[in-house]
Symmetry: C2
Amino acid sequence: MNQSLGKASIRPEKPVYILNSASVVGTKEGQGPLGLLFDKVGEDDMFGCATWEEAESTLQKDAVGIALEKSGLSQDEVTFIFAGDLLGQSIATSFGISSYQIPLLGVYGACSTCGESLTLGVMSIAGGFARRVACVTSSHFASAEKEFRFPLEYGNQRPLSATWTVTGSGAFVLGDEDAMTAVKTGGKGPRAKITGMTVGKIVDYGLKDSMNMGACMAPAAASTLEQHFIDFGSQPDDYDKIITGDLGMVGQRVLIDLLMERGYDISSQHMDCGIEIYDSDSQDTHAGGSGCGCSAVTLSAYILKQLEEHSWKKVLFMPTGALLSKTSFNEGKSVPGIAHGVVIESI
Amino acid sequence: MNQSLGKASIRPEKPVYILNSASVVGTKEGQGPLGLLFDKVGEDDMFGCATWEEAESTLQKDAVGIALEKSGLSQDEVTFIFAGDLLGQSIATSFGISSYQIPLLGVYGACSTCGESLTLGVMSIAGGFARRVACVTSSHFASAEKEFRFPLEYGNQRPLSATWTVTGSGAFVLGDEDAMTAVKTGGKGPRAKITGMTVGKIVDYGLKDSMNMGACMAPAAASTLEQHFIDFGSQPDDYDKIITGDLGMVGQRVLIDLLMERGYDISSQHMDCGIEIYDSDSQDTHAGGSGCGCSAVTLSAYILKQLEEHSWKKVLFMPTGALLSKTSFNEGKSVPGIAHGVVIESI
């Protein structure tokens, strides 16, 4: 039986498999510590397009295409696509994946969207509504700066607490046990299995600094993580890694402190995709990377690789989102956060 | 067994019940033909707030509060909330429902979001992941004009093909059969049951006129409707009403023509929430109403009432969305559409 666990968690009766995945990134990400692991690195960040938004759409289109190809599947063999991005009205998604003609369920959770799309994808498969689904999210440094902050031409200074939005898109093809067997016979994948999820709620500590998103999101990450431990009756030691999306260096310290106050020491398990993706000293990325694409490409290229190689057996993947817009920021509102946790295990 | 049907449809093994619902609207909607049916009509469209965006958040908060109250449930008895709106980064939702502290799955499908939230809500319950969930969507005339078109102070002229964004929010509490029995014992609800869904794909005929959204969305409505008939092996006559969200008068004509070309005559069943909600002659709303709130408040206040009174036995409720943003419009992109269909039956 599929289960609702505690206040905010769910567990599928049978695991849902990540059949395969893909990561497409920009030049800066390609030059970073994970650079060699990505499926595709753009020659420049326009990806042959006329606008930043079109470039981001191309990232999604390419990521889905490569993930399908690596899974040995055509678009007709995928029932639904769960997709989202950071731009107003999710236009990177709308113009990115329309050519696939796969029924679309659009999702929005700021930079937590990758976790949300995987959660809903698992629900649809474990619930018996689909055999295979795709999940894709993206961000682009230039389209995000334009959407949330200042025109790039303005050349504004960035404080050390600021993060650098990742130019990248990660796509995942999920499938049930039968789909896994079929793939296995064909000699490809699956890469890992998803065995549980904790859905986050909005947490707002009243912080208003959009140049310190890590601090804004850390309380939400702490809330989801504590709820996860309670709902699953688990402890930090049960995971090889507890991986947040884009807290960066400031947010990481806040998260570890908040969890310590609640009786959980995650300092030896915690990893943040935003800290891993750049070398902040040489790449001038300050507190780290961020964006929907940050956790998605790191999951596809790096985390799943560790699980495939059995370097790690079980991780909690927990992308974090800051629920602001240019309008809410300019109207003086706070920056609430949200985080969704997904338990991913090696096969 | 829950089922995937055909290319884009799903059918839960057991129906999922709309335990109760609520509609909160602005003054213009209160003066319209459905005015007396809404749960709450604001005294003015600011709803006691300092900004249009906060006013829209208040609509969502009130709608969820009233829907929970009418269902006889506390927020702790709802596992997830599926919520969205039209504003960039869904800020009406983020600042509207955060006080409820219910785990949130944010959704975006432009004005089709109400259909998407119900679809995902049904999946989560029928899949065994939740007993009860809430679904809420909203729009606000002034926040939408600011987000998509011109400042209200500019006083721009609106062509006759334009629609008027509904100020309103509709919230729905869904539950499984056991939840229904519990509610029935308490003497409240349920209002209707959901027995099937068809998930839409993006359809883009290349139209670029953001002042004629009905024509932009009609091809998506036609696509989802045709797919629905194929997947369920049904015909227009199987439904008392086939109800689109906000095609308005121009879009309605396009939809009926497109379906006729494909061999389906829906002219006697078709109804559009955008046409019903205003008296366009006296209220100067041109082609009709639109927005996430349009279909949601019409479903809650009018459609469910007809089903409760057994005036209608079975309807296909199909909100329609136009996937544009100010940025995509200004960059000369087309306005793609999407539509999600939900089969709702009387009990």
